[in-house]
């Protein structure tokens, strides 16, 4: 890496602030519509850089329907990004009291239960979280909502959450690939093993960080270290670093790779604000508690 790490982080912060919309939100691509996911990542990353919690005013102004934060007018609420937004709230010392109603929605929400199928190997009785209402359980939304609930109950007992956390844990264990790691939804279709992805594996591992003695969690950690070597995207490398950090695993080489990639992509930062914000969060040493740690 040619650039000094502190200087690179400073340049990313500057780029993120420059690409912020007037109302304090962020789009996926500079100059476009405000979206929930890049906004939450940017708020977390800039908050971490400043040694403070995220600026929650932006999320407080966000359009809501039935307590869900609505990403796109007229579209169904995205449950994965609501789980992540709720987690973003918890990164602020005053965030918990502002999301009790959203937390209730997340606890009450269940993906659709389908009849068992011999084409897809999974325990269909487990109802985690889906991307949008009325669809199946998927790894990414389940991981976000599960990680949020695990953090949420740390600060005070929420009896209704316990059952959902248990189901979320069991679902992620059930859906893990044979050799570790996670695909998007299940581990096998038509009798063939599906391969794991780095981003989904990192997310699921973060949600399972309190179950690290599970053999599949250990195998998945190993799988992640192996697979990340061939990764070439900011988001995958960033999630690997963030995940490894909560497990206490140093990732010096991946940090170097991420910094080099971010630097190489500098002319296109404005096209990938999500990846840029994730990279900043991953590269920031941070002075406060980690938003993703339990």
């Amino acid at each position: 890496m040619s650039t000094d790490p502190a200087r690179l982080r400073s340049a990313i912060r500057e780029a993120l602030l420059e690409s912020r919309n007037r109302d304090g939100t962020w789009p996926y691509v500079s100059g476009k519509q405000a979206r929930l996911e890049p906004t939450c990542w940017a708020l977390l990353a800039l908050g971490r850089a400043g040694g403070r919690g995220p600026d929650l005013e932006v999320l407080e102004r966000w359009q809501r329907r039935d307590h869900w934060l609505i990403d796109v007018d007229g579209a169904p609420p995205n449950q994965a990004f609501n789980g992540f937004a709720a987690l973003t709230y918890l990164a602020h010392p005053d965030g918990r009291k502002q999301i009790s109603l959203l937390a209730e929605r997340i606890i009450a929400t269940k993906a659709v239960r389908f009849p068992p199928s011999n084409l897809i190997r999974l325990d269909s009785s487990l109802q985690g979280w889906s991307w949008v209402d009325g669809t199946a359980s998927w790894v990414e939304p389940t991981a976000w909502c599960l990680l949020f609930l695990k953090q949420y109950v740390k600060a005070g007992s929420v009896p209704a959450a316990a059952e959902r956390i248990s189901v979320g844990d069991r679902l992620l264990l059930d859906r893990a690939c044979t050799d570790g790691g996670w695909n998007y939804g299940n581990s096998q279709v038509f009798g063939k093993d599906l391969w794991p992805y780095v981003p989904t594996t990192a997310l699921a591992l973060m949600a399972m960080q309190d179950r690290r003695s599970e053999p599949i969690v250990q195998r998945s950690l190993e799988q992640l270290q192996e697979d990340v070597a061939s990764e070439r995207s900011m988001s995958a490398l960033a999630l690997t670093i963030i995940c490894s950090r909560v497990f206490g695993i140093p990732q010096v080489q991946v940090q170097r790779d991420l910094a080099a990639l971010v630097e190489r992509n500098q002319s296109r930062w404005s096209d990938n604000l999500l990846g840029l914000a994730m990279a900043l969060y991953a590269l920031e040493p941070g002075r406060g508690p980690d938003a993703f740690a339990l």
Binding site: V29, K32, V72, A75, V132, P141, F190, N272
Partner: protein, 336 residues
Amino acid sequence: MPTDHPSLLSRLTRRGFVASLAAPVLIAGCRQNRPYDARRFTVPARSAVGLFAVSSYATDFADVIARGLSELGVNLAGRRVFLKPNMVEYERDTIINTHPSVVAGAAIACRRAGAAEVVVGEGPGHRRDIEYLLAATGLDDHLREERVRFVDLNHDDVRMTPLASSFTKQPALALPVELLKSDFVISMPKLKTHHWAGLTCSMKNLFGTVPGAVYGWPKNVLHLYGIPNSIVDLTATVRPQLAIVDAVTAMEGDGPIMGRPRALGFIAMGTDPVAVDATCARVIGLDPGRMEYLRQAARFLGNIDAGRIDQRGEPLSRYATRFEVVAALEYLRQQT
């Protein structure tokens, strides 16, 4: 830039307006159980589909596709062209995606044909990580070299868009603004068997226009609405004006991801995507009339009857073969 080519967005808006005027008729149509307004669609009397021989991916695809545009009489002058390849997943030594040389060749051919703008866009249904996919597949290098803009349809701005037919029974879907702004959509699939739909070609390829950042990865709502229903509603709504199919090396067996490569050696092109898909189905030994989505599409969108499809380029018989399919799809085979 000429302004006489309405964008998809304005066409849809106009359709919506016309549809609202025709509400009583639509209700009558619904009573007849017809999930489309027949007055808004015309099945061409005949459809031309070209099969153009290509020996390998080292070919000059711009020349092949330019020939196809000429033979099919496609006029791109002044158009804002949107190329929609199929880019789902990357795994070394597999052939899951439309080859980047074919995409780059199409972009060059469209520019040579006078297109005002050419944009490539895709919203992968499996790999969320577009940065990884673009680099790993090599498409990024090709597009940079040709200075063609790429749009990640999963993360683009979206607009709730009324569906032009109602097989899914959904009134609207969020669709990417960059797609809606274009006025000439070209579907550029890789020819593959598909373990749920039978075939993934120019119509199923449109699943990639549905934004993951709204509906998730994979786009599970489309499965729950019924894959054939979703294919037909998306085709009726997006209305690709041209299909360019990468069948240089296709996929058989457990497609669209886990199947095996199968060399076929052609590029298929046609302005009727239904006819293109039907022709590709016949090439690989499947009966288009047994495929739910093609059967429904043939009612109002295009032709599947071989007697109404004019073959250009090479004869179908030159490539006709029998692809392996998963056991559950054996019923799709053509009877010989």
